[in-house]
Point group: C2
Chain length 292, copies 2
């Protein structure tokens, strides 16, 4: 087992299994053929073509109208159990984060349509007087829809439609770890990781904005929304070994740890997999609209 195995776990993708989800001529998602067939039976506002899934020409053209029409079309699929984890939380539909928002779609449907989602993850760190580092690790509640019982960062969560990254940081820090704004606001943005990988919930194409937050010894996180069952303050060496040798961490949380280890010199450039790790943590090619 190696760090590279964790990155490969987040790079499971078979291009031929998907057709584009295209809105206004822009490829905003990737729909598995299997889901496209299911969608065709209850298409509503969707047009399920051989080449691509699109929106009907008769659908509303404005974002709010599209959001409503899409929600109505998805409801029967949700009622039939094809969109587990529906939580009435709209996500932005765009070619990539920062591109023009075309409409909003329920979070549970995002991976079924292979739309890029954004989120935030916070590494919670305690620096010891002797130079050692400990890291706060959460264990996900057993009733979570995704990755129950797996290990997680101090704080992590998706960015809902309309919220900024900073808004999401403050909201999730309060809900997941009971951190007041004065504490969460000290989190330092340190970059973003990205991956595209097939999971049971669909195709995850995620951009995670990463933060490092140094906490004093006596700041003990407390989960308030039931999503984390317990927090542990682990010596970094234990975190390193757990990520490298086991699959106890949630698939994407392992990548956030590896990114931390690279940024802080715990994985060095003469190690054989270094460039594959650096590259693999940002393997999501920004689609068409991105200028680079």
């Amino acid at each position: 087992m190696s760090f590279l195995d964790r990155v490969r776990t987040c790079a499971q993708f078979t291009p031929s299994a998907y057709r584009p989800f295209r809105v206004d001529g822009i490829d905003v998602g990737l729909v598995a053929h299997e889901f496209a067939e299911l969608l065709a039976k209850n298409a509503g506002v969707f047009v399920v073509g051989e080449e691509a899934v699109t929106l009907s020409p008769s659908a509303p053209a404005d974002p709010a109208g599209r959001t409503d029409a899409v929600a109505r079309a998805l409801r029967p699929l949700a009622d039939a159990g094809a969109l587990p984890g529906w939580r009435d939380e709209p996500y932005e539909v765009a070619a990539y984060p920062g591109a023009p928002v075309l409409f909003a779609m329920e979070r549970a449907a995002i991976p079924k349509f292979g739309i890029i989602a954004a989120g935030i993850h916070v590494n919670g760190i305690v620096r010891d007087a002797d130079g050692g580092v400990r890291m706060w690790i959460g264990r996900r509640a057993l009733n979570k829809a995704n990755s129950p019982g797996k290990l997680d960062q101090l704080v992590g969560g998706g960015k809902p439609a309309g919220a900024s990254v900073h808004d999401t940081l403050l909201k999730e820090s309060a809900e997941e770890a009971d951190l007041p704004e004065a504490v969460a606001g000290r989190a330092v943005p340190v970059g973003a990781i990205a991956y595209r990988t097939e999971r049971s919930e669909g195709l995850r194409r995620d951009v995670l904005y990463v933060f490092d937050l140094e906490l004093p010894e006596d700041a003990v996180p407390r989960n308030t929304d039931g999503e984390i069952s317990e927090f542990h303050l682990w010596p970094l060496q234990r975190v390193i070994e757990t990520v490298r040798e086991t699959d106890e961490f949630k698939f994407n949380c392992a990548l956030v740890v590896i990114d931390f280890l690279i940024r802080h010199g715990y994985i060095g450039p003469d190690e054989p997999d270094y460039l594959e790790l650096v590259h693999g943590l940002r393997s999501l090619a920004l689609p068409g609209g991105a200028p680079i």
Copy 2:
């Protein structure tokens, strides 16, 4: 002017202007058609085909033999002035850093053959008691072959064949800034940036291993190899404005600064160009041999 302009400056590439340089069936480089025509006149061990530049089947198959044969073939080009800056410094020829080394080639020829080169850059930082940060900036000597008079990091340099990244860090820190091993060895490896861009010297496809080095106030760098004419300890805000508003920094050194600003939270995730910057700093797709 913006940070993104600096990244775009390092992404000038017209695929149709090049043909592959292929060794043992592996694409290790990209040769501009214009240079290929020049090479064809004095081909030596090279076979200049329409589709690709390759090595003659009669060339030695072992790395040392190939290194010698290629050096002999390049010498007439150097004598004719087509390889300016020849310095008898061999670089590794491989599909990407870490891939099997096929042979070594004089540094001055590396961009003419579009081979990926590796280097190290060190951000030299002084933390003030009030939380402010200053950064050591070097000005390149006016007699440098590349980017004379431009601003640079505290330390930067290419990785010669056979040297590890750590070796290169220590050697360049001694030569460029007179830093003893005990000081340079405290530099923290923090990742790697990559770019592919056309320059007057050829096609630069570089991977730069980046280090952050915190220095005490009284550690004043001193150049020993004549490559840096002066060092300045600038408040970070001046560095930020100079990178964003001017082209005073050497093209790739600007990227190293932008990477520093992202990793330390001076450029935040709600800024419009954030993902393009994060992505653009690592825009070198690892070719075929890379597992990801």
